[in-house]
Amino acid sequence: MATSPALLFPSPSSASSPPSSARVEAVVLFNVCDSYVRRPDQADRVIGTLLGSLLPDGTVHVRNSYVVPHSESADQVAIDIDYHHNMYASHQKVNPKEVIVGWFSTGFGVSGGSTLIHEFYSREVQNPIHLTVDTGFTRGEASIKAYISSNLSLGDRHLAAQFQEIPLDLRMIEAEKAGFEILKSTMVEKLPNDLEGMESSMEKLYILIDEIYKYVDDVVEGRVAPDNRIGRFISDSVASMPKLSPAAFDKLFNDKIQDNLALVYLSSITRTQISIAEKLNTAAQVL
């Protein structure tokens, strides 16, 4: 080429701009790992569809996923398109708000076959995201990355598709609610009941307060350089406790305690009542 090549990026269409970041729920990760573990012997990796929604600020919220059978050889890739559509229709019946937002694959990095698959998904939805879940832990760490692709064209000729990584938010609030201890270990003997949960939360709070005490002590004694931001944060937190006079607080406290005691009393009475009623019902004999 005599003229200097000009790389043209497609101008952002007015319909929708490509997603700028992605958020993945824990259930998607679990599904991907589970399907990887169950993959057929000859497959190296698994691919599947991602479902979710596109938030107005450009974030893609990935909420669900299902695996799609595919076969891959050196030069060609085949996906079971019917299966994909069937599963999508079934999922739509349950939750019509979850639409296709992209696809996932296990393995590290983006391979050649991925471009073809990505092209297929681009026909399903605009700007699909591609999520790679590195189940092989190739770099010794869990790497989950999300990409979007943009087409690079030289003049009129389509050269390549460039996969750009987009920031991924893996906060997994739902998983936190369920409790990470349950999801972390390979076997949990029994689900913690509420009292045990309270105990562990209170212990964590206690540890936090201890740390803050230690930090403040260290700063006062000059062992640690004071950091204004942390100091301000601590004073904000302490000030956020409502200021009540001791009398008002005591009254409030006693009222609540009495309410709770009344409830416990009511429930014990009810229990006694139902056991008596049951004895009467089955033991009564007129004959």
């Binding site: 790992c33 079971d80 229990r271």
Partner: protein
């Protein structure tokens, strides 16, 4: 050498003879074992083992549609005394149409077929449902259990409470009907005497099975990596929340409603007993009259009339109302009481914690 070579043989023969002598007893017991393996009772279900994936999916589905109640199917394996739940899929919410039944069945078949293609365990082992504040013990639940029991040997129902999960407790329960209750229900024997015979009280209808959670090594490795650095999680925030009043209020409302139901059930029984005793006194009176007539007839030399008269309406047996409703209502009441107790206990700890913090 010859001796040594010769020795094993008679020894072996002796051993074999002994074996064969013992064999009839042994063989018989082996045959017995083989023949009775189909008749022996299945090992009792002791634990339900769920995969983290199934737990998360159930939570996601129930939370998304709260406060509507949703259901879904559980898939997994039945291994000895452990029922493993490896996957699940949700059911779409059905409007009450006639055609929805066929649709529902189609959806189920379609999902099972698709999941089988990707090597997911294709066994139905039960279903899950979300429920609001513990009022899931209904007749429909029992009927669904009986329907499932006809096709699969062991099935379990997993109940999830989204309202309690907002308080930081993973509220999942695995239930199944006790065998004795199922026998009685099948034979329509929910009358007073039969229940007394079997010593079946309302506690024995549902059996709660402990849940274990297991995860594959791969996913637990991922989770360990991705666990956030912060020492407290959303779970802890939820647990230390002080405002539980709306939850308690609703629980109490439901409790009051259930007490009303219970008292109406008891009224039904009282009515039945009153009718029964009135009928009996009527029968006695009629019998007396008959006997007098008979004596008069005998004196007159005529045939005595029979002492029974099935066509008389006072001899019609009054059906005893089923105690099932009463038992179910009692179960509901007890679960509300348990909830209230649990939350009140937590409230106590939280209040004392607040007091300690305030004094500092």
């Amino acid at each position: 050498m010859a001796n040594r070579k010769g020795l094993p043989k008679p020894f072996l023969c002796l051993a074999l003879v002994i074996l064969y002598a013992a064999a009839p007893g042994g063989m018989r017991s082996f045959l017995q074992a083989v023949s009775t393996v189909t008749e022996e009772a299945p090992t009792p279900l002791r634990v339900v083992q769920m995969e983290g994936l199934a737990v998360l999916k159930i939570i996601k589905h129930c939370e998304e549609f709260a406060p509507a109640l949703v259901t879904g199917q559980l898939l997994g394996l039945d291994v000895g005394s452990v029922l493993e739940v490896t996957n699940c899929f949700p059911f779409p919410i059905r409007e009450e149409d006639d055609e929805a039944d066929a649709d529902g069945a189609n959806y189920q078949l379609e999902m099972m077929r698709c999941l089988r293609e990707v090597n997911v365990d294709n066994n139905t082992i039960g279903w899950y449902q979300s429920c609001l504040l513990g009022s899931f013990q209904t007749v429909e639940l029992i009927e669904t259990f009986m329907n499932y029991q006809e096709s699969i040997r062991r099935c379990v129902c997993i109940v999830y409470y989204p309202s309690r999960s907002s308080q930081g407790v993973l509220a999942l329960k695995a239930l199944k009907l006790t065998d004795s209750f199922m026998d009685l229900y099948r034979n329509n024997g929910l009358t007073g005497e039969k229940l007394r015979e079997k010593k079946l009280s309302w506690v024995d209808i549902f059996e709660e099975i402990p849940i274990k959670v297991s995860n594959s090594a791969l996913v637990s490795a991922f989770m360990k990596e991705l666990e956030p650095e912060s020492p407290v999680t959303q779970c802890d925030f939820d647990r230390l929340k002080l405002s539980t009043a709306p939850f308690m209020e609703r629980n109490l409302e439901f409790l009051i409603g259930c007490m009303d139901d219970l008292s109406s059930e008891q009224n039904k029984f009282q009515y039945y007993y009153r009718n029964l005793s009135r009928q009996q006194s009527q029968q006695q009176a009629w019998l007396q009259k008959r006997r007098q007539e008979n004596m008069a007839r005998k004196a007159a030399g005529e045939e005595p009339l029979p002492e029974e008269d099935p066509s008389n309406p006072i001899f019609k047996p009054i059906p005893e109302p089923s105690r099932l409703e009463g038992y179910l209502v009692t179960n509901q009441i007890s679960s509300y009481c348990n909830h209230i107790n649990g939350v009140a206990g937590q409230n106590f700890s939280r209040l004392y914690l607040m007091k300690a913090l305030h004094e500092e």
